[in-house]
């Protein structure tokens, strides 16, 4: 039975139409996965279809009919796209629940978790304070939070990211809605936490019979949760259908491209093994601590604890870990952004930690955020030319530098004319290529890629990774590859070091690690990676 029927939904902001006539249906007790890259309009579609859109200047047309649910067979059908504000308020929180992406900003820091649950219950179910509080404790238990009778009076800042998301789910499900809209709910979470939340939502759905709309850019995640899938691109529905069929035999070229670009862990995959090259980067006993100032005084964080590893010339070593593992801190220590407490690091024999400014040339870094990695006020050409000018590379004189910049742009598959453009005129993938070109301009011995593709769309990420691999082969580059996504780690790396809470948990050649991981944490990480086959099809 269909719960929500969306017909020809269009959303325009200003003069531009962003969502162009989407038709989709959500069945009772089923999960619909909406998948698309950035700019596909998936969030706008879901918000417009549930009457929660509040972008200034936005206009919604078409219809989105919410039919009666299992709990209330006699309810009238309501068109959410055109309903009045008071009608929508009766639906929101009561028949439709929402879970948003970022648990750190989606909860009110000034109210207890319990209060944030009970206010829905008081509004929609007319429960008194006491009854509402009991129900809140029940809900916290149902979402797997330990000590719910204590935690109900705790504030959001006292919970971890994963726990906050569980609390958000409790809030969304508090009035037993027929439909749950989850907008990228696990994107901001670690992969192990993500796995837990995925199974939690599946269990809750089964128990309560809630229909779910799960929005994500990650096909692997969608594969784990959805029964039906809608693929969006540039505001248009590209393909939809049952998940098994769609994943096994996609009809549309774009779907095929998305599925092909998805990083997966495949037995025996990985770059060409290198014969044992000489060690290039040797890190020994690295220890980094820093003090952070909180309102209640200073606190010491032990970010990196006795970490040692070796990177061989011409190969890629991956530093893998979740947030708080210290992987980025290691990179910052190697490049001089953070002073280490103890330890040694040598590059080709010479000391890295006490390097002079001149020697900084030997390591180049590419950061995660394509938008913030380029100075918005300088042109692309200026950005790439900076290392040339600082270290007097690429020949003398402006003309020689211009030629070198053009060369570098071509090396990363960008037209030389881009040198005049400014960052805001480029897409995310193009900006990352510029960052890579800038790194290459240094003619470094080692390139550190700190989650360099994590903010890119899946298809763009695949192309950039391909570029990186090609450059490594052609230019004999050495990479230190920092990532949390094990599938791309497998694609890119010869050796892997797994970090947890600042310590090395396991270190092995990639082939060995993926075939037979030894440490239980590594095993958990591998198991948390969504498998290739969608769950519903297995």
């Amino acid at each position: 039975m269909t719960l929500l029927t969306v017909r020809d939904l269009r959303v325009a902001v200003g003069p531009r139409e962003i969502v162009h006539g989407v038709d989709v249906a959500v069945e009772r007790e089923q999960t619909l996965g909406i998948v698309g890259e950035s700019g596909s309009g998936k969030t706008l579609t879901a918000l417009a279809a549930t009457g929660l859109l509040d972008v200034p200047g936005a206009r919604v047309s078409g219809s989105s009919l919410l039919g009666p649910g299992a709990r209330d067979e006699g309810a009238a059908t309501l068109d959410l796209a055109t309903a009045s504000a008071s009608q929508l308020r009766r639906v929101h929180g009561s028949r439709v629940g929402f879970v948003f992406q970022d648990p750190s900003t989606s909860l009110n820091p000034y109210l207890t978790i319990g209060r944030q649950i009970t206010e829905s219950l008081e509004t929609h179910r007319r429960l008194g304070r006491h009854a509402a509080r009991l129900r809140a404790i029940e809900l916290l238990e149902a979402v797997g939070l330990p000590n719910p009778d204590e935690r109900v009076d705790a504030y959001p800042h006292q919970f971890s990211g994963g726990q906050r998301q569980r609390a958000m789910i409790a809030i969304a499900l508090s009035c037993d809605p027929d439909l749950l809209i989850a907008d990228e709910p696990t994107t901001a979470l670690d992969v192990t936490t993500q796995a837990q939340i995925l199974s939690l939502v599946r269990d809750l759905q089964r128990e309560r019979g809630t229909a779910v709309v799960w929005i994500s850019h990650d096909l692997g995640v969608i594969g784990q949760v959805a029964d039906d899938v809608l693929v969006l691109r540039d505001g248009r529905a590209v393909e939809q259908g049952p998940i098994g069929a769609l994943y096994a035999a996609p009809a549309h070229a774009y779907t095929r491209e998305l599925l092909a670009a998805r990083p997966r862990i495949v037995a025996g995959a990985g770059p060409q093994p290198r014969p044992d090259g000489p060690p290039l980067l040797e890190v020994g006993g690295l220890d980094v601590r820093f003090t952070i100032g909180t309102p209640t005084g200073r606190r010491t964080v032990h970010a990196v604890d006795d970490v040692s590893f070796t990177v061989r010339r011409g190969t890629t070593l991956a530093l893998v870990g979740e947030s708080g593992s210290g992987k980025s801190t290691i990179a910052n220590a190697l490049t001089g952004l953070v002073p280490p407490h103890r330890g040694s690091a040598t590059l080709g024999g010479s000391d890295l930690l006490r390097a002079r400014r001149r020697d900084r040339r030997r390591i180049a870094m590419v950061f995660q955020d394509p938008f913030a990695s380029l100075d918005p006020r300088r042109s692309v050409g200026d950005a790439i030319a900076e290392p040339l000018r600082v270290h007097r590379l690429g020949g003398t004189g402006a003309a020689a530098r211009e030629r070198r910049v053009a060369e570098l742009l071509e090396l990363v598959d960008l037209p030389a004319a881009f040198a005049e453009r400014f960052p805001h005129e480029l897409s995310g993938g193009q900006r990352q290529r510029v960052s890579i070109a800038r790194a290459l301009a240094l003619e470094p011995e080692l390139i550190i890629l700190d989650e360099a593709t994590a903010s890119l769309d899946v298809s763009v990420q695949a192309r950039v990774l391909g570029l990186l691999r090609r450059l490594q082969d052609e230019q004999h580059l050495t990479y230190l590859f920092i990532a949390h996504d094990l599938a791309i780690v497998q694609q890119m790396s010869h050796d892997v070091v797994v970090l947890q809470n600042g310590r090395v948990v396991e270190a092995a050649p990639a082939a060995e690690l993926f075939a037979a991981p030894r440490d239980p944490y590594t095993v958990r990480l591998l198991e948390a990676v969504p498998p290739e086959q969608p769950r519903a099809a297995r």
């Binding site: 009110n108 820091p109 000034y110 109210l111 944030q116 504030y155 809030i171 209640t296």
Partner: protein, 321 residues
């Protein structure tokens, strides 16, 4: 409400230490004021009353004949015990004079702040919730007027309207609140209105910005997605979220008012600290100037500490870990 006393104590401890450092800096600056005068401050102050005996007497009394560091320590020591020297003009102890004039300024500042809050809080919230619409624009424009108007001119206009033309309220005069509340109220109205309208305009802008910031945050979106009535979203989520920034603004504004009343007190002949400083500057009465400036700065530091204490209560992230 849950409180972890140890945590609050640590927080306040950090703030107290910070304030102590600022206080020390303030003492250094105030002390330096008299040292920076080009020429001889004692001679300048005596002016036409100069005689060698008077000069020596005043110089000795103000301790200016001792070495610098000794003067500073002496100044610190006596400041701590409440002795701020004697006035160059009339030989009265500075502390006594300051304390005589303090109540008038404080009463003016408090009433002014209240008027400002009564204007700014509703206006700021109301216009923030209607951001971009005509009503918001009107509030913004009006508050811009309030910020740009010279307070002494506003005072004169109010006198012209309410005292001279309408005759409703007096243009000057002061009785302490305790002596005759009704008359005090009538006398404080125009000056407080002058102070309050300008401060209210300034605060409206800040409050509006704070509320807009909160209204666009993730947790307000969550509140709306729960289908809560608009009253609850505004009251329990938006206003609560803006409470901390508003506290900060109110604290800063009180400090600004304490300093800015100088001109208003002159226009309305209000016998407060501000007018005292004006007279002291005209007469180059350095000890009095130093004392008044120190007192105001100390009041500012104290107000900030009070605001910090209120933070500790208002923000759960500080009071529990």
């Amino acid at each position: 409400m849950r409180i972890q006393p140890a945590r609050i104590a640590r927080f306040l401890g950090v703030r107290l230490l910070s304030s102590a450092i600022v206080l020390f800096g303030v003492l250094v600056v105030v002390f330096a004021l008299i040292q920076l005068v080009p020429g001889d401050p004692v001679r300048l102050a005596l002016g036409t009353r100069y005689t060698p005996e008077a000069y020596e007497a005043l110089r000795a009394a103000s301790g200016l004949d001792r070495p610098l560091w000794e003067q500073f320590l002496g100044y610190l020591g006596s400041a701590v015990t409440g002795d701020l020297g004697v006035s160059f003009r009339n030989g009265q102890p500075v502390t006594t004079t300051l304390l005589e004039r303090l109540p008038a300024t404080v009463s003016l500042a408090v009433v002014g702040l209240l008027i400002a809050l009564v204007i700014a809080i509703p206006a700021g919230i109301w216009s923030a919730l209607r951001e971009g619409r005509a009503s918001d624009l009107i509030v913004r424009l009006t508050s811009q007027f309030g910020v740009s108007i010279p307070d002494f001119w506003l005072g004169m206009l109010l006198i012209s309207l309410f005292s001279v033309t309408l005759g409703w309220l007096p243009a000057s005069g002061y009785v302490p609140l305790t002596d005759d509340p009704v008359r005090w109220l009538r006398q404080v109205t125009l000056p407080a209105l002058t102070v309050g309208l300008v401060a209210g305009a300034i605060m409206t802008r800040y409050i509006r910005a704070a509320v807009i910031d909160v209204a666009s945050s993730g947790y307000v979106r969550t509140a709306v997605s729960k289908g809560l009535p608009p009253r609850v979203v505004t009251g329990r989520h938006i206003v609560r979220g803006a409470l901390v920034p508003v506290l900060t603004i109110a604290g800063i504004q009180l400090a600004t008012i304490l300093g800015g009343v100088v001109v208003v007190e002159v226009v309305f002949a209000w016998p407060g600290l501000g007018r005292l400083v004006y007279e002291a500057v005209a007469a180059r009465d350095y000890p009095l100037i130093q004392g008044a400036v120190l007192l105001v700065a100390v009041m500012f530091i104290v107000v900030n500490l009070v605001v910090d204490a209120l933070y500790a209560v208002a923000d759960p992230r500080i009071r529990v870990s």
